[in-house]
């Protein structure tokens, strides 16, 4: 069993093998150089000289199953679907969800969150909150991945922000943006 690691004379002689390796890299060089030149001349996106995706300008489509920034789903009338049952807060392994429940006169709903904060800085993106929710009120389908901030306070997403976010488009691209005020927020 296994791989015979003894080298043949040709391999130990080194020079032939080195030239073969240089041939491979040189072939890559000239093929890619030709691709780059053809791309510049014909201005075609289909001809490629490299496999690089130049990230902020170019993006590859995200999978619809990707767990991205959370959002709170709304009812038809725009109020949060959340009934403040604390399931997500309980199941969260990172303890990044903070809910304060309030009462609602409507006997079909009874409870509503007064506060619903997610500290994304603590979140581990396990998706347990989405699994645990009996009302399908929290989802992680915004497609937003860029929510870095200059402060810890800027990572805390309050209920009104979470409610304002839209689900991602069919190609996985986000349809809503994080409010710029959060980026530089100090707390």
């Amino acid at each position: 069993m296994g791989f015979d690691s003894r080298l043949t004379f040709r391999q130990r002689f080194y020079l032939v093998e080195v030239l073969a390796g240089l041939g491979i890299t040189a072939a890559h060089f000239f093929r890619n150089l030709g691709g780059h030149i053809a791309r510049t001349i014909f201005r075609s996106k289909r001809i490629r000289g490299a496999v690089t995706i130049q990230y902020p300008e170019e993006r590859r489509p995200y999978s619809p199953r990707l767990r991205s920034l959370h959002r709170l789903v709304r009812r038809e009338d725009g109020s949060p679907r959340c009934v403040a049952c604390m399931m997500c807060e309980t199941v969260c392994p990172a303890r990044c969800i903070y809910i304060v429940a309030g009462e609602l006169p409507n006997p079909d709903i009874e409870k509503v969150p007064v506060r619903f904060d997610i500290d994304v800085g603590k979140c581990v993106f396990c998706g347990f909150c989405v699994e645990a929710c009996p009302e399908d009120a929290i989802r992680m389908d915004t497609g937003i991945l860029e929510f870095s901030s200059y402060s810890r306070g800027g990572m805390v997403y309050t209920m009104d922000v979470l409610l304002s976010l839209e689900p991602a488009g069919p190609d996985g691209a986000p349809r809503s943006t994080v409010p710029k005020a959060l980026w530089a927020k100090e707390r």
């Binding site: 020079l15 080195v18 390796g21 240089l22 890299t25 890559h28 890619n32 690089t52």
Partner: protein, 361 residues
């Protein structure tokens, strides 16, 4: 008198600008060529007024970064040697190119100007000496840093240099024997002869083994991959661990300039120097009898162009090697130097001598 001074200055300035610019450009070439070889795009973000020019501003950005960085000197370092080491390293790399001819003589107003910074009759030995002196900078850096890792790196560099320089010297001897001179200009002129009436007698034709040995040892003396264990920047760290800012930049620059020097030496000794195949002083004379007469200036321009293109090709080839081969282990490189390159180059000298004796008899 003043004209002579001006001509001498011009010759030196041409070589200086050629080497420095090519060395600076090589930092860009290294990034872009490695990227293209590896199916990547490479550095392309530095821009001036939105103009990117395929990352050509990155060398400038690098220079600005290095010049404005903190220049740190360790507390226990030998300050004089520490500051002197990068200067020594870069200086000897830069002056080595002086003896390499970039064209035949230029005749203006009855004046004969050799296209070479200095016309030395021991040019080969001079370049060889300058390349060897370059290692002093590296050893000084290793010693003066007061850092054990730097010292070990400096020792590795010294060991590599000694084993490579001997092979360089011995492999050049074959060329000197074939063309009967140590003057780089004479060697370049000798390579214009034709073998059997059609094959240019370039060093690569008359000394194929010498070419391979010289190129291998030359790559070793540039201290770059596959012989980069003096630095080993990715893991074993070498002689310039303690250097920062432009002093580090000078070591990096010295590496690139040495690459240019090795490319220039390979061109001058083995690729015919400034020779264009079948181009004589009066124009092209093809072996099948066709003649194109060219003016003197056109001939000189073609020669300088040929030399530049050959050097550029060799730089490309050295980069290709640098980005293809994995690093030799320390003992492997020692074994290659002492048990491979050195005996083979002695064998090359002996074989060349026997062939030359046979041809003369």
């Amino acid at each position: 008198m003043l004209t002579d001074l001006g001509i001498a200055f011009g010759r030196v300035a041409f070589i200086m600008l050629f080497v420095l610019n090519l060395g600076g450009l090589l930092t860009w070439v290294e990034r872009k060529q490695s990227a293209i070889m590896q199916d990547r795009i490479g550095a392309n973000r530095a821009s001036v007024f939105g103009l990117r020019l395929w990352g050509l501003f990155h060398p400038v950005a690098d220079a600005i970064k290095m010049l404005t960085k903190e220049d740190f000197i360790p507390a226990r370092a030998d300050r004089v040697l520490f500051n002197l080491a990068p200067v020594v390293s870069l200086f000897f790399a830069l002056v080595a190119f002086a003896a390499i001819p970039f064209g035949d003589s230029l005749r203006v107003d009855g004046r004969e100007i050799p296209l070479q910074a200095v016309n030395l009759n021991v040019g080969v030995l001079y370049i060889f000496a300058m390349l060897s002196l370059g290692v002093y900078g590296v050893m000084m850096a290793g010693w003066a840093s007061a850092n054990n890792y730097a010292l070990l790196g400096g020792q590795r560099a010294a060991a590599l240099m000694i084993s490579a320089e001997i092979a360089i010297g011995a492999s050049i001897m074959g060329v000197a024997m074939v063309y009967g001179s140590l003057n780089m200009m004479e060697i370049a002129r000798g390579q214009g002869a034709l073998l059997w009436g059609w094959l240019p007698a370039w060093g690569i034709v008359t000394q194929p083994l010498g070419f391979i040995l010289f190129l291998t040892a030359g790559i070793a003396s540039t201290k770059r991959v596959p012989f980069d264990f003096p630095e080993g920047e990715s893991e074993i760290i070498g002689y310039f661990v303690e250097y920062s800012g432009m002093k580090f930049g000078m070591f990096m620059m010295a590496d690139f300039v040495e690459t240019v020097v090795i490319a220039g030496m390979t061109t001058a000794l083995f690729l015919g120097g400034w020779q264009v195949p079948y181009l004589g002083p009066e124009g092209f004379v093809f072996p099948w009898g066709t003649m194109w007469s060219l003016s003197h200036l056109a001939v000189v321009a073609l020669q300088i162009l040929a030399f530049s293109l050959k050097v550029a090709f060799m730089c490309w080839f050295l980069m290709l090697i640098r980005w293809t081969l994995p690093r030799f282990r320390y003992d492997q490189a020692m074994r290659l130097g002492w048990l491979g390159l050195f005996p083979l180059s002695i064998l090359n000298i002996v074989a060349t001598g026997i062939v030359l004796l046979g041809l003369r008899a």
